[in-house]
């Protein structure tokens, strides 16, 4: 366990002349659950987009499990074992729930772009997909079109699709966004269940979720990480309190 | 020298005409994400209406009336058709304009017949602007250039100096932003669609008599305009301008050249085997497919287009 699962060194990103990420250094050891928090517009989603290569970095270096992946395409990064979810639900609306998950497992299982295998004959892929469906609680909705699922169901599917491929570094972008309290509790349990033994990096607004789930937390403010530490350390960090949390955490 | 200059002028005239068409298409495309297949149909309608109106009122009123009529028609099409198709996504919108272009062609044939109509250059603009040695440059071509340039200036002012222009400019660089505004801009959409149609019609008015006004004119012009938009870069008015001129001038010079493809390659120092089928091909022959070749080259080497901000 020498190399960290994810390592960012001096990563910067500007849109036009506006700097969004202003030199981020971050190391996430393998197996850690790491949360990134920060006020709106701090650049959390942008940071995710840089790590997953949705946007190219302006400068800096990103390493995945010890291998540099800066400048690679999203699918190349995914094939190296990183998978992400999206803040706005991002599934395949005209495919069935089952097919959504199955698409996520076909590549890692080596079927890739095959047009000489019969899908329904791929027992391993089907069983794996069905197992995921069981675990995210959507087995009963197996043949429903994903586009007509309820919001909470779609969020669950989003997580299922993200982890189904077996990537060991998982990026979750606000997995509980827009959920009621009870839905959010279920989602947290789901995330916990599904990412067992994996490295998890998540962006989250809900402090209850963050402090309950994360091993360590980084605070991103104006494109820079001002603090990284365990929930207790972050809670106690005066700079964080001043810059971002204010009184609310103390009250919580 | 005389030959060069005349050829250059011809090329620029054609290029400016292309820009009149491609500017409207670019505006519509970048704001609404619609590849308006019927754009060249508005060009054709402009020519036919100018012919019709001109027969009653003369060319000058037609120059104003025809684009306004077509503009109104364009706005109506946007309100009654495009918006409806929009519910089903971009493909449906595109197919709607595709079907519309088909229908317009049929209607034009129904109203004005299948042969060319006798739409002539007005006598006041008939004649030579100037003569270089033996070749004369027609006055009407000069007029076409003037109208295109005036339109270019007008467009520039409208976009930089008006409120609507501001929204349009914003949408050129950040289409998702304007689309996110969604409900606030349908009127701008209608306006842009109508104006684009009117610009195309204006091009039709001044080109219909210089060339030929016939039902096939839309189908002949349409693909070239798309090519201009791709080569220039999606959403870039400057790119469309550059690409229009480039294609206009390049094509004109290719037509006027006397090289074969093999000659040219050898001159550029490329070793070319003797291939009889290719050796017979002259640049002149290749000229009309040059825009498409250019498009493929741009797609391979510079997918953003000449000046596009977004990748195609």
């Amino acid at each position: 366990m020498s190399a960290p699962a994810l390592k960012l060194s001096a990563v910067r990103k500007s849109f036009g002349r506006t700097p969004i990420i202003r030199g981020v250094d971050l190391e996430v050891p393998a197996g850690e659950r790491h949360a990134i928090i920060g006020p709106n517009g701090a650049g959390k989603s942008t940071l995710f987009n840089l790590v997953s290569a949705r946007f190219p970095v302006s400068s800096g270096r990103i390493e995945l499990k010890g291998e540099e992946v800066t400048g690679r395409t999203p699918h190349e990064i995914n094939r190296r074992g990183l998978c992400r979810s999206f803040q706005i639900t991002n599934i395949f609306p005209h495919l069935s729930v089952f097919d959504n998950v199955r698409c996520a497992v076909l590549w890692p299982m080596g079927y890739r772009y095959s047009f000489w295998h019969r899908l329904s004959a791929l027992r391993d892929a089907r069983e794996r997909a069905e197992e995921i469906l069981e675990r995210i609680g959507l087995a009963a909705r197996r043949d429903t079109l994903a586009g007509v699922l309820s919001y909470a169901e779609q969020r669950a599917l989003e997580i299922g699709v993200t982890v189904a491929g077996g990537a060991d570094v998982i990026l979750l972008d606000e997995p509980t966004a827009g959920m009621s309290r009870s839905e959010s509790d279920e989602a947290v349990a789901l995330v916990r269940r599904m990412t067992e033994g994996k490295t998890l990096v998540m962006v989250e607004h809900d402090m209850g979720v963050v402090f309950g789930l994360a091993d360590r937390i980084s605070v991103l403010v104006y494109g820079q990480i001002i603090a990284t530490g365990t929930p207790a350390e972050i809670r106690a960090n005066p700079a964080v309190q001043e810059a971002y949390l204010g009184k609310s955490v103390a009250d919580a | 020298m005389e030959f060069l200059l005349i050829t250059l002028l011809n090329g620029v005239t054609y290029g400016l005409l292309l820009f009149m068409l491609s500017s409207g298409l670019t505006l519509i495309f970048s704001m609404m994400g619609i590849l308006n297949f019927a754009h060249a149909s508005f060009y054709m309608l402009g020519a036919y209406l100018a012919f019709q109106v001109g027969a009653r009122l003369g060319f000058w009123p037609a120059l104003l009336v025809a684009p306004l009529l077509v503009g109104a028609l364009g706005a109506a099409v946007e309100r009654l058709g495009v918006r409806k198709a929009h519910r089903f996504g971009h493909v449906a919108e595109l197919l709607f304009t595709f079907g519309l272009s088909f229908l317009v062609e049929e209607l034009v044939q129904l109203v004005w017949g299948k042969a060319a109509v006798d739409y002539r250059v007005p006598p006041s603009l008939d004649g030579a602007a100037f003569t270089l040695f033996r070749t004369s440059f027609p006055l009407y071509k000069g007029f076409m250039m003037a109208v295109s340039l005036a339109m270019l200036l007008g467009l520039y002012l409208a976009i930089t100096r008006t409120r609507v222009g501001l929204v349009i400019r914003a949408s050129l660089t950040r289409p998702e932003m304007v689309q996110a505004l969604g409900h606030d801009v349908p009127r701008v959409f209608t306006l842009v669609f109508g104006s684009g149609a009117a610009l195309a019609a204006l091009a039709g008015v001044i080109a219909g008599n210089a060339y030929v006004t016939e039902p096939g004119m839309a189908a002949a012009m349409g693909p070239i305009v798309f090519v201009v938009v791709v080569v220039g870069g999606l959403g870039s008015l400057g790119g469309a301008f550059l690409a229009s001129l480039l294609i206009g001038v390049l094509q004109t010079f290719m037509v006027a050249s006397d090289f074969s493809v093999v000659d040219l390659a050898r001159r550029l120092g490329l070793g070319v085997p003797d291939a009889p089928a290719l050796a017979r091909l002259s640049l002149t022959q290749l000229a009309p497919i040059m825009p498409y070749l250019l498009m493929v080259a741009v797609l391979i080497f510079r997918p953003r287009g000449l000046m596009g901000a977004r990748e195609t």
């Binding site: - | 044939q109 299948k114 042969a115 060319a116 070749t135 027609p138 210089a210 030929v212 002149t284 009309p288």
Partner: protein, 406 residues
């Protein structure tokens, strides 16, 4: 789907029963060349009506035209042909496009070989590819128009008689017809006037050029005294317009300068500039053609253009009478070598290759003057004036056809 088809088939079959000898007219009736196809059909209807009015054929049987749209495409022509065969039609006629003609000749040959009891005869009134009466000649095909080489023979004859012409420019559409025109021009000029220099030979894509100004400035720069072009339709009218705008003085020697709708498109720009070669034009006025022409114009608001259609139907009617049969093979045998005393002179169908021989007129587009130019074309105020009449004998060219007769 089957029901829809049956309904349609019933409609198609519901032709009047009185007609006895049907001739399928396979030409574009929709699409960009529909106006030309429509005009040809009117010519046919007119002459068929005249033949019927004077007693029809075989002692009272009537001829009838059945129009089938081929949309101008070789492939659709084959569908049209199939449809004609299914209606029991044994005579087809077509004119627009040598590509279509080539496809039809092939199809007719194959059909007749596969169905010897249901043979079909193909009468071509306007497709001018020389191959159709040379290397690809067929017993089942008859051509009633002068072919590309014959017309070029006449054009080069005119140029040979003009000592002032020293430089000739060739420009044409980049397809078979354009290539054939250029080839014929080069060969025949070399023969007749070896001193004439060919200063340019351009091919441009067919129907794609919007502005011919660059071509014109090239012609201008070459110093050409005359231009030969096989262009038709827009490609011709745009060329002529651009030449006028560019101040080009050279005359255009054309195949289709008077083609339907073309004079309207170039208008005054063609005055004194456009020369055409045809078997007739409106200012060739032997009686009773003037009267027929005027009546046709009055009825249809169109110019009489295809004199050869009159010849075609008259010769067909005579061949049917002579053969005392409508069997295509017998009719074809009767047509071979047939002579007709047409209004413009002696016209005959050469037996060796089924190519018609007829007098050809060279004429120039000029303002109507009431004398030599009595009638205008397309309502332009301009008409054609005869420069030269070439008797049929002088248009005879050798053929390489090796006719196989069944």
């Amino acid at each position: 789907m089957t029901r829809a088809f049956l309904a349609a088939a019933a409609l198609l079959a519901a032709a009047p029963a009185s007609a006895q000898i049907k001739i399928a007219y396979i030409d574009p009736l929709t699409g960009p060349f529909a106006n030309v196809g429509e005009a040809g059909l009117q010519h046919f209807r007119m002459i068929v009506d005249r033949v019927n009015a004077s007693g029809g054929v075989l002692g009272g049987k009537k001829l009838e035209m059945v129009a089938i749209d081929n949309k101008g495409s070789p492939q659709d022509s084959l569908i049209a042909f199939q449809s004609a065969v299914d209606q029991g039609i044994r005579f087809i006629t077509q004119g627009n496009g040598s590509g279509v003609a080539g496809a039809l000749v092939d199809a007719v040959n194959k059909h007749n070989a596969r169905n010897p009891d249901k043979t079909v005869l193909y009468l071509n009134y306007a497709a001018v590819d020389p191959d159709l009466t040379n290397s690809r000649c067929s017993f089942w095909h008859f051509r009633f128009d002068a072919n590309t080489d014959q017309k070029m023979q006449v054009i080069t004859k005119v140029l040979a008689g003009l000592p002032a012409v020293k430089k000739v420019y060739l420009i044409g559409q980049d397809y078979a017809h354009g290539h054939q025109v250029a080839k014929a021009a080069i060969e025949m000029l070399k023969q007749k006037r070896p001193d004439i220099q060919i200063v340019g030979n351009d091919l441009h894509p067919i129907g794609k050029v919007k502005d011919f100004a660059p071509y014109v400035s090239k012609i201008q720069a070459s110093g050409a005294d005359a231009v030969i072009t096989g262009n038709w339709g827009n490609d011709l009218s745009l060329l002529v317009k651009a030449a006028k705008d560019g101040g080009l003085k050279a005359k255009f020697y054309t195949y289709y300068g008077g083609g339907l709708g073309t004079p309207a498109a170039f208008g005054a720009a063609g005055a004194d500039q456009v020369v055409q070669v045809t078997e007739w034009h409106k200012n060739v006025l032997p009686s009773p053609l003037e009267q027929i022409s005027n009546e046709f114009t009055r009825k249809t608001k169109q110019d009489l253009y295809y004199f050869r259609i009159l010849n075609e139907i008259r010769m067909l009617a005579r061949a049917i009478d002579q053969a005392k049969s409508t069997d295509p093979r017998k009719v074809a045998l009767a047509l071979e070598g047939m002579h007709l005393k047409a209004e413009t002179g002696d016209v005959w169908m050469r037996k060796e290759d089924h190519q018609i021989m007829q007098p050809l007129y060279v004429s120039t587009f000029e303002k109507v003057d009431g004398k030599k130019v009595k009638y205008d074309v397309d309502g332009t105020g301009y008409g054609f004036r005869t420069d030269l009449v070439v008797p049929a004998q002088e248009t005879v060219l050798p053929t390489t056809c090796k006719m196989e007769r069944p």
